[in-house]
């Protein structure tokens, strides 16, 4: 099990940006995208997200599992929403829909509106994932603490964030060791029960020792930090961060994007838009 942070985007255009830019850009982009249901505007946002992701230089081969997970999860969200809403999408009543057919048994209408809604959901999540993924792979692991601290997060919590990212690989190693040790004893956690409780209880022999060992082992870290005077006064960071002109331009672009979409949203111009082609297919 290797889930150590991989700096896959090292040397790329995005990795040379101030790490705060990646964090702020994602927040701005998420708040932009969640306001948009109009496929035409969303297409523009998807292009921006794709260009942004491309600038991180992350090899697809290295993250294809992550993308497969995203696609699976988004499909899940879209299908369940389509099935459970029973055709009532974004305030549209059933008699307003252009229906193709109804699903057997549950009778949910599949319409031009529901297909558009599904496409919009896909694009919204995929674009957010594209802008979010570079945070994991295009920020140098050592820059995480200073980035959060310079964003105004209290320095203790910023250091906590950095500690979290540092603990992940070692705890993953401990987990693998525990799994191997249990396997040597003949315990196969993969043979999970069928019920949720059965599945849960199969993980107890892994979860409990890894957790308790991690807590007991944390004493060394606590003592080391206390001995170095952690918490006595605000911490300074060796790594100095500074926005350059390019960073400012990119940041201004995302701010502008959010402002424009917010105005469009307040004036009702980001609502669900159904392409004529899909309406015509309904006959």
């Amino acid at each position: 099990m290797n889930i150590a942070p991989r700096y896959l985007g090292r040397g790329s255009w995005l990795s040379r940006r101030d790490p705060r830019l990646l964090l702020v850009s994602l927040a701005l982009f998420v708040f932009t995208v969640i306001q948009v249901w109009d496929l035409r505007i969303l297409a523009g946002l998807v292009i921006i997200a794709a260009l942004y992701y491309r600038s991180a230089g992350i090899p697809f081969r290295a993250v294809r599992i992550q993308w497969a997970y995203v696609l699976f999860f988004v499909s899940f969200v879209v299908i369940v929403n389509t099935l459970l809403t029973g055709g009532e999408l974004r305030g549209l009543a059933e008699d307003e829909l252009h229906i193709y057919f109804r699903l057997p048994l549950i009778g949910t209408p599949i319409s031009a509106e529901s297909v558009t809604y599904a496409i919009v959901q896909y694009l919204r999540f995929l674009s957010m994932a594209a802008v979010g993924l570079p945070i994991a792979y295009a920020i140098a692991p050592g820059d995480i603490g200073p980035a959060f601290a310079r964003l105004g997060v209290p320095y203790k919590f910023a250091y906590g964030m950095e500690l979290t990212f540092r603990f992940v690989p070692s705890l993953a190693g401990d987990l693998q060791t525990t799994i191997d040790a249990q396997r040597v004893r003949g315990y196969e956690w993969e043979k999970r029960g069928r019920t949720p409780i059965g599945k849960l209880t199969r993980t107890i022999p892994m979860v409990t020792p890894v957790t308790i060992n991690a807590i007991v082992g944390a004493e060394d870290t606590i003592d080391a930090m206390d001995l170095r005077g952690f918490g006595t006064q605000p911490r300074t960071w060796l790594r100095q961060l500074a926005f350059d002109r390019t960073d400012r331009v990119v940041l201004a672009g995302f701010v502008l994007l959010l402002a424009v979409v917010t105005v469009l949203s307040f004036t009702g111009r980001t609502e669900l838009w159904i392409p004529d082609l899909l309406v015509e297919l309904a006959g």
Binding site: I34, I65, F157, V168, L175, V210, I212, D226
Partner: protein, 189 residues
């Protein structure tokens, strides 16, 4: 006798942000992110990945206080999402819901301590209440567009997640407390 900062930094106040709080919070969040690999999807639900490791959120909140619980839930869920590829902030409201559950587990652990003297039972009750109340925040999915209306948010998001998280939290939190308490006493914490 004057008290040095280092001594005052080791107090047990609920809202004190000490070195111990920061390290336990980081350990909790990292563990949640790592152990989230033990996850399985409940068929028929949207946006709900069931993680037995969720019990760490309520355990860390209960054992080490509301700040540790909030950090473990909020940052741990975000990191688990990031590691899986979903993205650090894509489901930020779910991360916050996890954080609130951890925070409430810590608060209920303190508030109900006199009412429920049995510590393991207290852990289970605090965890259960924290899950039921903390995850009400996932109804923000309606505003974010992930769920189209209240019935979808309730049926596809809230109900499955509290059901499965309740199972994980009510069973695992007391087990972890039972494993940790003797060690804590022997370490003099």
């Amino acid at each position: 006798m004057s008290t040095t900062y280092m001594e005052s930094n080791r107090t047990d106040g609920t809202w004190d942000v000490t070195t111990r709080v920061i390290v336990y919070a980081a350990i909790g969040a990292a563990l949640y992110g790592v152990l989230a690999f033990f996850s399985f999807v409940i068929p028929g639900t949207a946006n709900v990945s069931v993680r037995p490791a969720f019990a760490l959120v309520t355990f860390f909140g209960f054992a080490f206080g509301p700040i540790v619980g909030f950090f473990t839930g909020f940052v741990g869920n975000a990191i688990a999402d990031q590691i899986s590829g979903w993205g650090l902030l894509t489901s930020w409201n779910w991360s916050l819901a996890n954080g609130f559950a951890g925070l409430l587990a810590g608060l209920f652990g303190v508030w109900l301590a006199r009412t429920i003297p049995n510590r393991l039972l207290l852990a289970a009750v605090a965890a259960a209440l924290a899950v039921v109340i903390g995850f009400l925040f996932v109804f923000t999915d309606i505003w974010l567009g992930t769920a189209d209306d209240v019935s979808v948010a309730f049926t596809a998001n809230y109900l499955p997640v509290i059901t499965t998280n309740l199972i994980a939290a009510v069973i695992l939190t007391p087990i972890l407390v039972a494993a940790w308490d003797p060690l804590r006493d022997s370490m003099g914490r």
